[in-house]
């Protein structure tokens, strides 16, 4: 989990802490480029691809973590 949080933090270039319960869309760093970085992270490290419509239903960092680690 810590590895995911670090990768996520690095992907969206956030300096402050990232917690599972955070609503990532409320981060100042969240924009269309941060979104592309998260798509790359999901594909590259967890082999997970997800269409935007489905991604839009995710609210928290933990929601993304759950998708990434689901078998």
């Amino acid at each position: 989990m810590n590895e995911f949080l670090n990768l996520f933090k690095e992907a969206i270039e956030r300096e402050d802490e990232v917690r599972l319960e955070d609503e990532f869309r409320k981060y100042d760093e969240w924009d269309s480029m941060a979104y592309l970085s998260v798509i790359a992270l999901m594909d590259d490290k967890y082999n997970k691809q997800m269409e935007e419509a489905e991604f839009n239903t995710l609210q928290t960092v933990g929601d993304i973590y759950e998708i990434c680690t689901k078998n």
Binding site: S32, M33, Y35, L36, I39, A40, D44, Q49, E51, E52
Partner: protein
């Protein structure tokens, strides 16, 4: 999966033209803050683009590139019997721009001329159409023109597209010669994703009206555009690209019995540095073999593959060089090409202002 194979046809000369006007993204701060501009440049790798002025069209860029290639290679215009113009930013809705260029270039009335409208992968589609017609055997020379003025398509007030696109035009002379050997193309389409990149109005589904030209706020970030301007759903475009492009390249290599190491250069559609370096990394490519013009020309749609060859491979194409070409975009359509270059003559890039070479 549709594969096409051609034998003994190739590009013998290639040239390009870009608008003289340079847009420096870090100084594109009339609407955006310095911080936003710097952030986008660092992420996309697009430092500069070329913007056509009001009186310069795709056809003007191609005209200038074509005249340069014809003059540099002492080509007899009477021998050009096929002219194909690729663009999604033509001069008019009718007639076809290729036909106006036939007259402007002084080509004979016997010239076969038509347009291909498709988007970012269109150079590969166009190349395969021209190779097919050339292989037929009767035509002496073909002129393939590819021009885009995407700066006129996207809203400067939509952050997701405002910093990406630029303008350019290329001209390629295509001839038959045994020395070229075999070319292989894979061409693909997925119309279920037609809404990922789109200009909704101005065609006949949603005709231009007073309403279609009104600029509206389109999202929670305050981005603005009209229905006459293009939009791009970048997340799903990226999803699409990381799934389909590596797969198509692998399938084409397998079909043609090649390894990726066999190629001297691999030329991708120049979308942005983020997407392109991700694909190159995913395919474990040697970055020294993957030239890029993203920093200086941005995304020029279908022009980006040949423009990158002209800009980055001049002086490097003597003898036989094997190129792997890959392009993807609006439609969605995507294509992979295995295209041998043999002593291709590359002309210097021309600059255009007010529709004319400067």
């Amino acid at each position: 999966m549709a594969f096409l194979e051609f034998e003994g046809v190739g590009i013998t000369a290639l040239g390009a033209a870009v608008p003289k006007r340079v847009i420096r993204n870090r100084e594109y701060t009339e609407i955006w803050t310095q911080e936003e501009a710097n952030e986008i440049v660092e992420k996309t790798g697009i430092e500069e683009r070329r913007f056509a002025d009001e009186t310069t069209c795709s056809s003007d860029l191609c005209f200038v590139a074509a005249e340069k290639v014809i003059a540099d290679n002492h080509i007899n215009k009477e021998e050009i019997e096929l002219l194909v113009f690729i663009s999604q930013t033509p001069d008019y809705r009718m007639p076809a721009t290729s036909v106006t260029l036939q007259h402007r270039l002084g080509l004979p009335n016997g010239t076969i001329a038509f347009d291909i409208t498709l988007g970012c992968s269109a150079f590969l589609y166009g190349l395969s159409v021209v190779y097919g017609l050339m292989e037929q055997g009767n035509l002496k020379k073909a002129l393939l023109l590819d021009g885009e003025t995407r700066s006129k398509v996207y809203s400067p007030r939509d952050r997701r597209s405002a910093f990406l696109f630029g303008d350019g035009g290329v001209a390629a002379i295509i001839e038959r010669d045994k020395k070229f050997g075999r070319s292989v193309f894979s061409l693909n389409s997925d119309g279920s994703r037609a809404d990922l990149i789109m200009i909704p109005a101005g065609g006949y589904r949603h005709m231009s009206s007073a309403e279609t030209v009104v600029e509206k706020v389109v999202d929670e970030f305050g981005n603005m555009r009209s229905d006459e301007q293009g939009y791009m759903r970048g997340g799903d475009v990226f999803n699409f690209v990381i799934r389909e492009i590596p797969r198509d390249i692998k399938n084409t290599l397998y079909y043609s019995n090649h390894q990726v190491e066999d190629f001297d250069y691999i030329i991708f559609h120049q979308a942005n540095n983020f997407i392109n370096s991700y694909i190159a990394k995913k395919l474990k490519l040697d970055f020294n073999k993957v030239p890029s013009t993203i920093a200086k020309f941005g995304n020029t749609s279908s022009v980006s593959v040949p423009l990158t060859i002209v800009s980055e491979l001049k002086g490097k194409l003597s003898g036989k060089k094997d190129l792997l070409l890959s392009a993807f975009g609006v439609g969605m359509t995507w294509a992979t090409g295995i295209v041998p270059f043999v002593d291709c003559q590359i002309s210097d890039i021309m600059e255009v202002e007010d529709g004319h070479a400067v």
